[in-house]
Each structure stands twice: as structure tokens, then as C-alpha cells.
Amino acid sequence: MTAVLEVEDLTVRFYTEEGVVTAVDGLSYRIEAGETFGVVGESGAGKSVAALSVLGLIDSPGRIEGGEVRFEGEDLLSMDESELRSVRGDEVGTVFQDARAALNPVYTVGEQIAETIEHHLGYPPSAARDRAIRLLDRVGIADAETRYSDYPHEFSGGMCQRAAIAMALSCDPELIVADEPTTALDVTVEARILDLLAELADEFDVAVQLVTHDLGVIAGTCDRAMVMYAGEAVETAPIEELYYDPKHPYTAGLMSAIPRVGDDDDRLPTIPGTMPDPIDPPPGCRFHPRCPFAEEACTRTDPALVDPETGEAATLDDDRAAACLEYTEGLSGGLDYSVEVAGGTGEHVEKTIDERDEGGPDE
């Protein structure tokens, strides 16, 4: 497998009037050719900023402060605008959260797709139009020939997102960055759009960076995923392991907050508290104020991403990494949570991670 995208130590800051916000702090990940990579986290975790930074689309007051973004081996951050533009839309397609807002209201949907094709592939207008119509047809827009001349306001939300996917695919990209592509859609449409995205990713052999706050979306579509918290990656894992064997207490907390059919609890479990103030993050581990297992050490040391088995610093090639002191120094109380897996047969499998008998966390 070769990596199509390697992000290393990416840092993005916003210089606002209230202070400097480190939206993305030393983020590293890789996406392999053809795989679907999920980036999950709460609002404000820095997922979208990270995704847009990959394409250099951060506007003032935001600034990419450091790191490397290697697309097929070439550092996008050291490219000039015109080189970057030849990658955007051509080799990397983008799908935005609100597809209707991402389309210019005064041009037809078809024109906008054809515009991209003409620009990058140098097609003459009529050929670009044909290709755009074929793409619209492929993403499931009925009567694509007529619909080509429709304006965005004549499309439903789901159709807009289909058109946006067609646009992202229009120049045969290697990677699609999808930023919350289904958040604005209702659940049934969401499912269909995700199926379509998965199907097309396979058919066009394109890698997808799927940014979402919805763990359900990640579970259904991704091969691997990265969990972000307050601008940092806290855990990276192949998708099954992320669900069945979360290594970071934040991930475990997120998993317990997913409502499941058949649950008879009146209230959903939640992670107490909110994300820290991005201008003035807490010292040490950023999650410690909300972490049920936090100890004194967590307030002092900011844990690095490590291989949870060995405790060695994680590299880009590691599939499994978590940022918790448990895996380096060892917390005296350990991580005392268990994962309940509802099997296909309805039988419950109980699996306990690192449960120790010495008692709960300090205090």
C-alpha cells in the first residue's frame, strides 16, 4: 500500500482579537490509496480546519504554522498558489457540508461541474458538458441531461450533495476530502449518500478523507479512523478496533454516548463538561478535566501519540496509536472501562480492558 496523503506535524493557528487559537496542533496522519479514512471529533476539535489546511484553503486570520502535507510525495505546503491550484479540484476533490451553499446560486449545477472539467482537463465546452452529464447520471440524478441546466435552488439537498460528489470526482482525483458531507441531510438521504460515496470511491479507486462528528457514519464507511480532541489526534485505529477496543478514554466515552436500538436507559450517557477554551487550553493532557481516570500526572504531561502495546512513539506507518499517559508512564488507577459488544446473535460479549483490582482512580 502506498500513502496518497501524509500529514506530518501540521499546526494551524488563528490570530483572533481574543487571542491565538491553536486549532490544529501537531497533527500527523496518513491516508493510503483507495482507503476511506475517517476523522472524527466534536465540533471545534479542529477536524474541518485540518481538512481545509490540506488544500491550503485556510483564510486569514488562520495561518498554517508548520508541518508538511505530502500528497503523492510532494509537499503541498511548499507549493505556490498556482501549483496548488492545479492539485485542487483535479487530483484532490472536495465535498462540503452544505452542498447548496457550496454551489454558486447564479450558475447552473451543470455549468459549474463543466467549468472544473474545462479548467483542469482542458476539454472543449461540449465535451465538458457531456462528461458533466455522464457524472450527474452516475451519481444518481435522474434525467441528468435536463437537470444539467437546473440552478442549485432547483435541486433538493440530497441532489445538491450528489452533484457535489460528481464535481469532486469530475477530474478523476486520487483523494476526496469530504467535510461533514451528510450532516446537513436527513437520515435516510444520509444513508444513501454514504452508500453512493463508498460505491464511487471503490469504482473510481479514490481515497476519501471523511470528516464527521458522527460515529455512525465512520462505522459504516471507513477503513481506519482518527479521533481528534481540541486540535490533537488522541487515537488512530482500524475501524473495528476503534469500536471494539478503544484505547483512549475519550474514544471510549464517545462510544458509550452512541444511542443503540433496544437501550432502555432514559438518558444517554454523556462525557461531562465541554471542550476546553481553545485560546487557553488546560496544561498537560487536554482531556484531563473531563477524563474520569485523570490523575495528577495528567495535569502536568501532555501525552504523545504512542503505540499502546509498546509505549513507543507512534510513526506515520502505525495503524494503532493513542495519546494517553497510561501507555507510557502508566496511570496508578489504570483505565477502568469495559466495552460491551452486542453480537449478531444478540448475545452480549463482555470485554474488559486493562481492568485492575487495585481500585478506581485516585481520589
Binding site: L57, V87, R88, G89, P105, E115, H119
Partner: protein
């Protein structure tokens, strides 16, 4: 709805508006006390009541107001605006002679305003917060604040009297299509266009800066389109909608402004004729010019509506 149907429907809706305009124009002049006959008569105590009545009869000033209105309207519809009371000249003749002068001046003023304002507004929005933007904003603010009669006098004073670059008064009037006319047109045209240029710059800047924050702009950049295409193709068309709104309103200002500017520059258009007619209580001339002005404003609004529909397809669906 197709664009053509929208335009036809919108054009038809102008008819009742024009009818209302004619009623108001006529009504206002007949509400003002003292018709031209009583003014004439007051100067001459020898005129008998019978002669007075005859004069009223002759000039269509007798009978109930609605009948006077209908008589006036039916004449206006065939292009007859009555006669000047003192000279007996046909008012339509005066209109035909004066109107082109005013149109040329107004169009030149507009062209000047647009030529300055659109590029300045775009430049300021794209460079928001930088030096060029600040300069454009200061200039625009001054432009809005300067009264046009003062600007006109200042231009005459500096450019014509001190520097001698432009003629103060035309030695002899040239036909409008003569290239030399441009020299006479420049100062009044600039005077009339400055305020419009300033307002349009401000609106252009604001609306463009707003549009630049829209998600479709990020999306267009994410598609790898050059910044030129993003700004001039995608953003410009969207920001022009609010400029068109303003332009329709400003047209009224340009038409009204021509009254002042034409007087300052002694430009032989409708504006200076209007001032003269008011002085002499030439009711028919004043009504005719008021009506023409009102029609111009109504048509400017119609044009603005059509432009909206051309610029933004969503408007055709209302």
C-alpha cells in the same frame, strides 16, 4: 418561469404605476393655489371676469378637475403636452429639444460613476483592510458628502477659471454628436456622477466583501479555479445584485441632480428648463417635465428588476 415571461409580466405591472404617476403629477399642480390665469390677471386690473373665464376655457383650466385631467391625459397619450402659456409654443417641442441634452448628461454621469465605482469597489473588497481599501473608503465617503452644486462650482473655479482647461460656457452650442461636445460634457458629467460613483463604490465593496465569505467561494477555490475566475465570474455576478438595487434608486438622484447641475453649468437640458418654467408658472411645461422624470424613474426600476432576473435566476421564481 422563463426570463421572457418574467420581463413581460413585470413590464405590464408598470402600466398602473404610470397611471398613478400621471394622476399624482396632475393632481399636485391643481392643488397648488393660484393658477396661471389669476397670476396674469393680477398684473392687469383691466381684465374683466368674462375675459378671465375665456382664458381659462382656452387653456383647459375650466370645468371639474377630473374632466381637466382626462383632457390632459388623452392629449399626453398622443404626445401633446399643451402649449406654453406665454409664447404659445408646443411643450412637446421643448421636450424634444431638451430631453436629449439631459439624457446625454445623465448617461455620461452614469458611465463615469460605473467606470470608477465597480473597479474601485472590487479592489477595495479584495484588499479589505489594506491601504488601498482605506483610501477607496475615504474617497467614497468624501464623494457621498460633497453636495453636487458645490462640486460643480469648485470644478468650474479651479479647472476652468484658474487653469483654463475647460470652457466655462459654450461659445456656441454644438450638436450633441459632435466630438467637441465631450469637452463641455466632462465637468457637468463628473459633477453629476461623483455622488453616484461614491455610493456605488461603497455598496460594491460591502456586498463583494460579504460574498467573498460565502462557502461557494471556498468551494470554487477548492475546485482549483484561478482567483481571477473566482472573483470576476463567481463573486462579481452575485455582488452586482445589490448594486443594481442602488443604481435604480440613484437614477432618481441623477435625474433630480440634473436640475441643480444643469443650472450651475448652464446646460440646456430639462433641468434648467424646469427651473425656468417654475419661475414663470408654466404649468404645462412643469407637468410635462415632472411626468417625464417620473417615467424615467419608473423605467429605471423596471430595468433594475429585469437585470436582477438576468443576474440571479432565483428572482425569476417569485
Amino acid at each position: 418561469m422563463s426570463l421572457r415571461r418574467f420581463v413581460v409580466r413585470r413590464a405590464l405591472s408598470v402600466v398602473p404605476v404610470l397611471f398613478g404617476v400621471s394622476v399624482i403629477t396632475f393632481g399636485l399642480f391643481h392643488l397648488t393655489p393660484g393658477d396661471p390665469v389669476s397670476q396674469l390677471v393680477a398684473l392687469n386690473p383691466d381684465v374683466s371676469a368674462a375675459e378671465e373665464a375665456r382664458l381659462r376655457e382656452r387653456w383647459g383650466l375650466s370645468g371639474p378637475v377630473w374632466r381637466q385631467y382626462l383632457a390632459w391625459l388623452s392629449n399626453v397619450l398622443v404626445g401633446d403636452f399643451g402649449r406654453e402659456l406665454r409664447t404659445g409654443r408646443a411643450v412637446s417641442g421643448i421636450l424634444w429639444r431638451r430631453l436629449p441634452e439631459t439624457i446625454v448628461l445623465g448617461v455620461f454621469g452614469w458611465a463615469f460613476a460605473i467606470a470608477i465605482a465597480i473597479p474601485a469597489g472590487i479592489y477595495a473588497a479584495v484588499n479589505k483592510g489594506r491601504l488601498g481599501d482605506v483610501a477607496a473608503r475615504v474617497l467614497a465617503l468624501s464623494g457621498v458628502s460633497i453636495p453636487n452644486f458645490w462640486l460643480g462650482l469648485l470644478l468650474i473655479l479651479v479647472l476652468s477659471l484658474y487653469l483654463g482647461l475647460f470652457p466655462v460656457l459654450p461659445p456656441s452650442r454644438l450638436p450633441l454628436y459632435h466630438p467637441e461636445t465631450l469637452r463641455y460634457l466632462l465637468l457637468p458629467g463628473v459633477t453629476i456622477g461623483t455622488a453616484a460613483a461614491a455610493s456605488v463604490t461603497r455598496v460594491m465593496r460591502t456586498s463583494m466583501a460579504e460574498e467573498l465569505n460565502e462557502e461557494y467561494v471556498t468551494a470554487a477555490r477548492a475546485r482549483g479555479l484561478p482567483e481571477r475566475t473566482v472573483v470576476f465570474k463567481h463573486v462579481l455576478r452575485n455582488s452586482l445584485v445589490s448594486v443594481v438595487t442602488l443604481a435604480a434608486t440613484l437614477t432618481a438622484g441623477i435625474v433630480a441632480g440634473s436640475v441643480v447641475v444643469e443650472s450651475v453649468f448652464n446646460w440646456p437640458g430639462l433641468g434648467s428648463e424646469f427651473v425656468r418654467a417654475i419661475d414663470r408658472r408654466e404649468v404645462n411645461v412643469v407637468m410635462a417635465i415632472t411626468l417625464v422624470t417620473a417615467v424615467a424613474v419608473v423605467l429605471a426600476n423596471l430595468l433594475a428588476d429585469v437585470l436582477y432576473a438576468v443576474l440571479d435566476p432565483r428572482i425569476r421564481y417569485d
